[in-house]
């Protein structure tokens, strides 16, 4: 092979002297490595520069930007409706909730109303999204701890059933592009509702199976309890949202606080954790899935008939009045918000995405300090990041 001359670069690891508290003489060695953007964990192109003392993490600096696709700049150059497919690609697991967050923000900006059937459909889609996101997360989580493949097989098996529903209603498995400003793209049929009901009724049994498979497992209990504790005050100050915040004991779920959509009509609990460790975050998500099933059963039972979109609503040439609005929803990962500034034209003046995964990574270092490097992977898995959202 012809070797190619590359400019000399620093080696992929670096050894530094470890100094004592006063910073004086060297008492050992610290190893700095980059858990680089390409690694076996399935979270995407995310890099952590860790400094290790033996196996313990002394310093951890995350490096972002490997998937920065300038979504916000594109949003300024295209119209409001044309940005809707781009929101699918933010958190590419949960395209329906991304769409809803954006539609909510534009409806707030332009003052549009949503028919009742569309609200029910939105809730059903959002809760199905939450189900498949948490299911996959638990699959990835077990894989990060070494259970290569099998829990993911179970998780993806259930996810495929939900994706079948999404595909039959919107045409695409993942990038649904389904919500519109003032409703949804098209109606769901009675067969679809029957299939969704069948899936929801059978989901409790799958959750029992999944939970029994993993929650009483000694290895998972040993590797997750007491690891990566996030104290309550730090969680609030660091703007953590979603299941990670609730695992630390803060009762803040946007479905109950903002009561957007028609969530005030549903009776569901918000599970809270006591310790704020990795095990709590994992159990919160399992409990949330059970609450999702409850909401879905109620929504599928009570969905009224009617239109799903105002026929006179203007989508393509939407020109909201000059002003600004910030709309947010409880996405499976946390609070997803869109901040839009309109200057009266067809394109937004400023289009900003408030990404939950990005902000939840603020305290990654705080949670990992003092733990071993294998725990750092588990803690990162419990934060539940998706790089499309972190880097936008």
């Amino acid at each position: 092979m012809n070797p190619v001359a590359e400019p000399p670069r620093r080696p992929s690891y670096e050894i530094r002297p470890k100094t004592d508290e006063a910073g004086g003489e060297s008492i050992g060695e610290l190893l700095e490595i980059s858990m680089g953007p390409h690694h076996p964990s399935t979270h995407g192109v995310f890099r952590m520069d860790v400094v290790l003392d033996g196996e313990k993490v002394v310093k951890l600096k995350p490096v972002f930007g490997y998937l920065h696709r300038n979504h916000e700049k594109i949003g300024e150059n295209i119209s409001y409706l044309a940005s809707m497919p781009y929101t699918d690609r933010l958190d590419y697991f949960c395209s329906m909730t991304n769409n809803w967050a954006y539609a909510l923000s534009v409806e707030k900006l332009a003052g549009l109303a949503v028919p009742e059937r569309a609200e029910y459909i939105r809730v059903i889609m959002a809760e199905l999204t939450r189900l498949q996101n948490h299911t996959c997360l638990i699959g990835f989580f077990a894989q990060d701890m070494g259970a290569l493949g099998t829990p993911m097989m179970y998780a993806f098996r259930e996810r495929e059933k939900i994706l079948d529903l999404f595909e039959s209603v919107s045409g695409a498995r993942m990038m649904c592009n389904y919500m519109r400003f003032g409703g949804v793209r098209c109606d769901v049929t009675a067969e679809w509702l029957a299939q969704a009901k069948q899936l929801t009724d059978g989901y409790g049994k799958f959750l029992d199976e999944f939970e029994a498979l993993l929650a009483q497992n000694e290895i998972i209990l040993a590797r997750t309890q007491g690891i990566g504790v996030l104290p309550r005050e730090l969680a609030i100050s660091a703007a953590i949202t979603g299941p990670m915040l609730r695992a630390s004991g803060v009762d803040y779920d946007l479905r109950k606080v903002d009561k957007y959509g028609i969530y005030s009509r549903f009776d569901f609990k918000v599970p809270l954790g006591a310790q704020g460790d990795v095990y709590d975050r994992y159990m919160i998500r399992v409990l949330e899935m059970r609450e999702c099933v409850k909401i879905l059963q109620a929504a599928l039972r009570d969905i009224p008939s009617g239109p799903v979109m105002d026929p006179k609503a203007k989508l393509r040439g939407l020109r909201p009045k000059a002003g600004e609005a910030y709309g947010r929803v409880e996405a499976p990962k946390g609070e997803l918000g869109f901040y839009l500034i309109s200057d009266g034209s067809t394109n937004p003046y400023r289009y900003r995405v408030r990404p939950p995964s990005f902000i939840n990574l603020t305290i990654l270092e705080d949670m990992c300090l003092g733990h071993r490097i294998a725990d750092a992977v588990v803690i990162l898995g419990s934060v539940d990041i998706v790089l499309g959202e972190v880097d936008r």
Binding site: M1, H38, H39, N70, E160, M175, G388
Partner: protein
């Protein structure tokens, strides 16, 4: 070469005849080991393709190796940003020959929906030779399976001698490509002229 009719007759009697080339390529084609290289949304469809419903394992591509030193195939699934591009090329250089690249999804082929970007590389084929390109955003898992089958066809029909023999048997053709560096506004060089030429528009 043996006449096909004679070959079939012999096969019915349990006698198999083949050439060394066919045997070699058959072994290579049916055990392509991909590198776990998901960048963005297409990675999820790649994972779904290796899961229970769209099983990729039956095509030989079961073991997704995390280390490039042990992989044959790099499925570039997702948008390649300029910040990530030097790492993609470096990983490719670390893979041993014979190695193949599948550009999965619109973003890896040409930048995709994020083409108007200051940080998006308009296609991984600017720096690496791509064997199979899968259009779609994201392509369905069946499309990925079709791409693996196409790659297998390509491998099966490779001639082992002569001027167009594969790279690992041809010392004159480079198998490693220069890694771009981060410039002040763009990567330097913005593309690799040996691999990619801007297409000429004739009207």
């Amino acid at each position: 070469m043996i006449d096909e009719g004679l070959r079939n007759e012999l096969q019915k009697q349990g006698v198999y005849t083949t050439t060394l080339e066919e045997l070699y390529n058959w072994g290579r084609a049916n055990s392509v080991w991909p590198l776990t290289f998901g960048l963005a949304c297409c990675a999820i469809e790649m994972m779904a393709a290796s899961m229970a419903r769209f099983d990729l394992a039956r095509f030989g591509a079961e073991v997704f190796r995390p280390s490039p030193r042990q992989a044959d195939l790099m499925i570039v699934a997702g948008t390649v940003t300029k910040k990530m591009a030097p790492l993609v090329v470096r990983l490719y250089n670390q893979m041993p020959e014979p190695k193949y690249v599948i550009a999965m999804g619109a973003c890896a082929i040409s930048g995709g929906p994020f083409k108007q970007g200051y940080n998006v590389l308009k296609g991984i084929d600017r720096y690496l030779p791509v064997d199979v390109a899968i259009p779609g955003c994201p392509p369905r898992p069946e499309a990925l399976i079709h791409a693996i089958m196409t790659l297998q066809e390509k491998i099966r029909h490779q001639k082992l001698t002569g001027p167009d023999r594969p790279r690992h048997l041809n010392a004159a053709v480079p198998g490693e490509f220069p890694v771009p560096a981060y410039g002040e506004h763009d990567l330097e060089p913005p593309n690799n002229p040996a691999v990619w030429q801007p297409p000429v528009i004739k009207r």
